[in-house]
Symmetry: C2
Subunit: 246 residues, 2 copies
């Protein structure tokens, strides 16, 4: 069966609609799909799929779960290698900004999922939710993963998805809480100070406890294995306490 | 360089300590490491790594971020294929139970990371946090991924990690909110009822709004593309309102 598909013989049985869909998918991934039904499933938004006799509604949500994980891993590796000197907090935050619903939605439309979806369903009949194309993008990546494997999906994401994401802008908005606090204190003419309250642990393993005071009053504390991290955490907590928006 | 490693020639330059560590790693992964320094980094808990002149502390936290993503993807695919008729809510919840800190910690010790860690650091000197071996396990998987690729890591997780996780038990505790509410109502002798308040959408796309009443009083509502999902969500909300613990 696998050989049959690899030779492209399964496309002989495609009807006109299938052929058009397969061509659309090739425009996005660069390769004709081996298992078209996976992609058709990815293009079935929740609430639009048919219900089976047991009340189980077939939709792309399960594929979305899978695609979300694959996308997360590829972006994790990308950021890991691109920023060798940034800590895991930065990596986590940058990734969550990259894969937020709004960005994914835009990327989904940009790579052509809207047009592909229109081939499968009559979109006038369908009131999609706001993150429709973001959801479909993730489900689509899940389908690509099952159809073509991890390596292929990783290449697809690196070459065709990441270029639509404005990494530089994302990073500039990744919150540096300490600088936010300093900025705020200058604007509000407040005196802030970071004090190391405690250093726990032994010679090798240390934990710093830092307190942040505003005009002498303690507003927040933070802990961490370095002074810098403890200060960052104290700043984050202070942003919450003082309702400073990032 | 790659060929040099594949031929195992790099091991000629290993000192005794390196050789012992490489053997330990082979016991876990089944293959000698190509890049030993990745594994050494994975075995460097946060707070124990050396600080560079710029205040950047080298630790396994970045690798942990990567390994967490890879583990999440492999488990996502495993659950996706194992449970073809369960929805994404079930898959998400089951995965998060499988990769919780406590489980990972146990698995980390079971596959031998404690012994391997003892070769690298003097553990008596080190007060690790509770999730030490879970963190190391994730970082270790990140190292394996960078060293040997996705396919190898996936096989490792399927064959040597998942067998230590008691999937059946996890699943039985995955919360079914509706059954919780029914159980609660019987214990407290309350009358509960699910009512469909609204059905929105058109012929193809539907949204159900369900209300849950207890002794005639509305306690929660839920929405969803099927009646079943809406009831499940209403039950979940009711659990929160009524402080029923899952």
């Amino acid at each position: 069966m696998k050989l049959f598909q690899r030779l492209g013989l399964h496309t002989l049985f495609f009807n006109t609609k299938d052929k058009r869909l397969a061509t659309s998918i090739k425009m996005i991934t660069g390769r004709k799909p081996l298992n078209l039904s996976l992609y058709r499933l990815a293009l079935t938004p929740a609430g639009l799929g048919e219900e089976t006799h047991k009340g189980f509604r077939i939709s792309n949500e399960r594929l979305e779960f899978l695609g979300d994980a694959v996308l997360g891993t590829v972006i994790a590796e990308y950021l890991f290698k691109k920023f060798p000197y940034r800590d895991e907090g930065f990596l986590t935050e940058t990734r969550s900004k990259l894969v937020n619903r709004e960005t994914l939605n835009e990327v989904g439309i940009k790579i052509g999922l809207k047009k592909t979806l229109e081939q499968v369903i009559d979109s006038r009949q369908f009131i999609g939710n706001k993150s429709l194309y973001g959801d479909i993008l993730e489900a689509f990546l899940g389908a690509v993963y099952l159809d073509r494997g991890y390596h292929f999906t990783k290449k697809l994401i690196s070459q065709r998805i990441l270029i639509h994401m404005d990494l530089e802008e994302m990073i500039s908005t990744v919150s540096n809480y300490k600088s936010k606090i300093i900025e705020w204190s200058q604007k509000e003419s407040k005196q802030i100070e970071y004090k190391v309250l405690q250093i726990n642990g032994n010679q090798r393993y240390k934990e710093f406890v830092v307190e942040l005071t505003v005009n002498g009053d303690s507003v927040a504390q933070g802990k961490g294995p370095t002074k810098k991290k403890a200060e960052q955490e104290a700043s984050k907590n202070a942003c919450e306490t003082l309702h400073i928006t990032i």
